[in-house]
Symmetry: C2
Subunit: 315 residues, 2 copies
């Protein structure tokens, strides 16, 4: 099969054997997304060799349980042991022995086929097109914020960053009824938000010590710094991004102001699919461009451009 | 009156006018504690000129409400406006216009007399001796942890640091029924804990990725690093100390492991006094030495010695 292959920070198209993992479903990938983590893997920020990619919608081709064959599915990306302390305590996404689709010790979905255990799969409702279903994984990651932090309708919530993930965070936060403002730098990011009635704020307009919850989705020191200044005493800072390397932080103000900081990663698929089915969020507008798998290298180059939203690969 | 005076990082004993603040109670200080913050002020880590000290028990001498006269009291250290956004939202200890006894724009208690508004005062029950009442403020600060974080009886809780504040944190955490271990470096700190049946752990014994809640009470980068390694995914790190200057942190593991960090400062006086009345905590064993106010400089020198617990000033 045709695959995108990452090795020594170099991407190439290869002909690789069709995957075959005993006990797992074989899935023909229909549509896959390129996300920030894929770009960081390609830049070598994390070590990974193999097929990248973890956002997808596909069709089950082979399965230990034949009733899955022919079904259109999305898949949770953490493949877990079910037996370690994290799994037994209801934290399977933190399984100590996990492999992660296209990220940790498991080939991903930027290829014609992939495999996943059946327990990772979710049926896609017929009314949800591939172009929406492919956003299930990042939308689930966005929803992890509400899974972790109680967002009250009376809360003033500031979102810093409105890229691929930030747009989905904005759309789902807006559903809580909270007083949401988004600091977005790129005109297209701004337009997508205002088209949905989501209000913008410039960095200069952000009032210091005012915001109950700040979601930092830029992964940059300047975003972190803005978040820090914006938070009210006893406010909550959600880190919804990865940060490269070390960042020097003066902790005393966090202690004096009794700030809570929450790291946020993978989220729940079922409510994400439900939101897509009910059209409560609309990811289609985030699609910047679609490429065939054979043009995956060009697709990655496009995704790298600042301000580019979601680039998709069609298999 | 005789006062300890801090100016330009220099402490001296002075004869200053007896304080007189309209609308506030005049309090004769009976006993006062020296805490880490006092030592940091004296070292110049925070700018302050005036009488230091904020831990005390005293007797009301003059008061706008005469019924307070003659009463033995302790006092909350934040003097607040009652009108700002923080005050109106139930966060008076974060009042934007606050003065803080012996810390921010208000003379403290390392003097014969001090003043505080009546709303800051709490009556000390007759059964609580001065030697216990003087610990109300730091015990309240210890209880702020349970005010902020739900400590479950099934939680594995690691406390790093067992100095002045750490001992009170240990005693109050032990009351929750949680599986508590304390990393304490000094033999006296260790003995005080084991005397109360609180279990120790060496830094080498701390299992990585195991602890539900870690309380960092050393304020040192090594303590922070140990805390980080000890926390399980989705665990909670309580910062119960101030940190001098900046500390470089690699944020990605906090995001990947979805750690929550909670800064923790001043706490509730009423439950602290109740615990002292019921003898659920026993601060008396923490008293290292008592000095008359006239020997305050020597008292500060003693308090500075590593491993020294509570040094008291008698007025």
């Amino acid at each position: 099969m045709q695959s995108l292959w990452l090795e020594n920070q170099s991407l190439s198209l290869r002909d690789t054997p069709r995957p075959n993992k005993p006990g797992e479903a074989l899935i023909r990938v229909r549509l896959a997304g390129i996300c920030g983590t894929d770009l960081e893997l390609a830049r070598g920020y994390y070590p990974f060799t193999g097929v990248p990619g973890h956002e997808f919608v596909g069709e089950v081709i082979e399965s230990p349980d034949k009733s899955w064959i022919g079904k259109r599915v999305v898949g949770e990306i953490n493949v877990v042991c079910g037996e370690c302390e994290q799994c037994r305590n209801g934290r399977p996404t933190h399984c100590e022995k996990r492999t992660v689709l296209g990220i940790v010790n498991r080939n991903g979905v930027h290829a014609e086929f992939t495999t996943l255990p059946l327990e990772n799969l979710h049926l896609v409702p017929d009314s949800v097109p591939d172009e929406a279903a492919v956003f299930t994984e990042p939308l689930a990651a966005a929803l992890e914020i509400q899974e972790q932090v109680h967002i009250r309708p009376t809360d003033r919530v500031l979102l810093i960053g409105a890229g691929r993930l930030g747009q989905l965070v904005a759309q789902s936060l807006a559903l809580t009824g909270c007083d949401l403002r988004v600091a977005a730098r790129h005109p297209l990011q701004q337009k997508l938000l205002t088209d949905r009635g989501i209000r913008l704020i410039t960095e200069d307009e952000v009032q210091p010590r005012r915001w109950d919850v700040v979601v930092e989705a830029t992964g940059s020191p300047s975003g972190f710094d803005l978040a820090r200044r914006a938070l009210r005493p006893r406010g909550t800072l959600v880190l919804k991004s990865t940060y490269r390397g070390g960042m020097t932080v003066n902790w005393s103000p966090f202690v004096v102001d009794e700030i809570t900081i929450v790291g946020s990663r993978c989220g729940p698929f079922a409510p994400a699919l439900q939101m897509l089915e009910k059209k409560e969020v609309d990811p289609a507008a985030l699609i910047a461009k679609r490429f065939p798998l054979s043009a995956a290298l060009e697709a990655y180059e496009t995704a790298k451009q600042p301000g580019t939203l979601k680039v998709l690969l069609e298999m």
